[in-house]
Symmetry: C2
Subunit: 301 residues, 2 copies
């Protein structure tokens, strides 16, 4: 039994490998929810949806957002009639979002996700970090803004001075899942805006300290593998490197997996985390994903 | 300047003729809203949408509901994932409904409709009968039910004992439009569930009594031209015929247009309404629609 903390970009790729190596039902994925919000009248849980679509094998692997081979008829029509959408929601993707919105009229997010993953034949348990809403507040040279405002409307361009978000209560099962896992895996997701919110959820940091925790660095060299992690790490005073990530996770991390390219950081990281392993962390294909999953689980690749 | 009271089936056909005969901006359409409700997370105003789509020349003329040549990707996907929609909403149709839903977060229905009709290039003013929500309650041999429950889920099959709906306040402009029109036209729509709610709106019946009102019978012989009018008329104690309709409208109607087939009713109807005209009321094509519009307006066809 393992738990995996996930954001919406790097970790879903790892999940594709994990479900090949472990029984899907022996995995629980705890997903960041801090960016969830209503757009175009539907509830959008970006990271949760990416995890659901990944495990349902319908994810668009070009963008790691939305459903593969989707059409955009409603989205395009909304633009034509003067009501453009902030997010590009496909027609099949919209159906899942409508379903979640309807379910949430009288259910929690946790319950809605559980209904959806069963409907899609997913055996892996998917738990949102919280059933409470919360937002990231980004302080930039262009003013204060929310996450999608920064990333989509401003294309991640403003200089970032600070990031903060409310602490919320964990969803049912989050703490239990961490406490009862043989291993907790922190996937290669953004440590500030994806993993950070999960860790800040009440009780999670304490539970992680008592668990065996393995993390994969989302930074290779001085560049995140994907997404806007660099600006956020710098704004929070962390070096943009696997060493910087080690600094963020050091108080609860038991084992840190860094890329072969980062051998030069190994010695410094070992001062923070006793067990450091070097391997190929870039996942270009299914073999890479399975190999990284095996490496995390301590199996010989 | 004329006002036309409209439901969602017969009257929109007449509107297609009217905008050929009169300047579109000289027409105000006052539309039934009693069946409006939220479905699949979007606000659905069935009769309003049919009027908008008709005047925007995008109506599906096979069903008089939704957008022509639409696709149903989201609708079909919702069914696949165990969340079937009560109403069959197309992808392009859904965009308009999403827009209205978003607009109504901080605007009235009247304001939302006015923005949409301008966006779609419609010069004819479209006013909902009310900005307040209201529902039809249908008492049947299968229990009490709402309109869509009766018509869609139960396919209009139960025996109807009675129909009622709340009286609501008219939307801004409804009374003014009736008072300032040279003629008020009651289109060939269901007199109980489409025109009835408009007439029952506070102040409308009084305004109609002071106006010059022309109605077109929605019944030819003993059958409604379209829709479920027959059961509702019977349940309310009216004969299913143009004579029955005349009885419903008699206290404010100045001129009644019935079908050539209904000559046998003419004498009886003339006891209720002084001015009765016989013409071809079935609108099979644009020529029929224009001819009926001209006949209503008193022009020689």
């Amino acid at each position: 039994m393992i738990s995996i903390l996930s954001g919406g970009t790097g970790t879903p790729k790892l999940l594709q490998g994990m479900v090949q190596v472990l029984k899907p039902e022996d995995i629980t994925v705890i997903v960041n929810t801090v960016e969830n919000d209503y757009f175009s009248g539907v509830y959008v849980a970006p990271d949760v949806d990416t995890v659901i679509y990944t495990l349902a094998e319908i994810i668009n692997e070009d963008t790691w957002y939305g459903v593969k081979d989707d059409s955009f008829i409603t989205h395009d029509r909304l633009k034509e009639i003067g009501c453009p959408e902030t997010l590009r929601i496909g027609d099949r993707d919209r159906a899942l979002k409508i379903q979640k919105t309807i379910l949430m009229e009288n259910k929690t997010l946790s319950q809605a996700i559980d209904i959806q993953r069963k409907e899609l034949g997913i055996e892996t348990l998917i738990i949102p970090m919280s059933d409470q809403g919360s937002h990231i507040n980004i302080i930039t040279d262009a003013g204060e803004m929310e996450f999608h405002e920064f990333l989509v409307e401003n294309q991640g361009k403003p200089e970032v001075f600070d990031i903060n978000y409310q602490k919320v209560d964990p969803a049912p099962g989050v703490i239990d899942s961490i406490e009862n896992s043989d291993m907790v895996v922190i996937g290669p997701s953004n440590p500030i805006t994806s993993i950070g919110p999960i860790i800040s959820t009440y009780g999670v940091r304490k539970a992680l300290k008592n668990a065996y925790v393995v993390a994969v660095s989302p930074i290779v060299g001085n560049q995140p593998v994907s997404g806007p992690a660099a600006k956020f790490m710098e704004a929070n005073g962390h070096e943009v490197s696997s060493l910087g990530v080690a600094g963020i996770y050091q108080d609860f991390l038991d084992k840190f997996i860094i890329d072969l390219e980062d051998e030069n950081y190994q010695e410094e990281i070992e001062k923070l985390i006793s067990d450091v392993m070097l391997t190929e962390t870039i996942m270009r294909n299914m073999t890479d994903k399975i190999n990284l999953a095996r490496c995390i689980l301590g199996e010989n690749v």
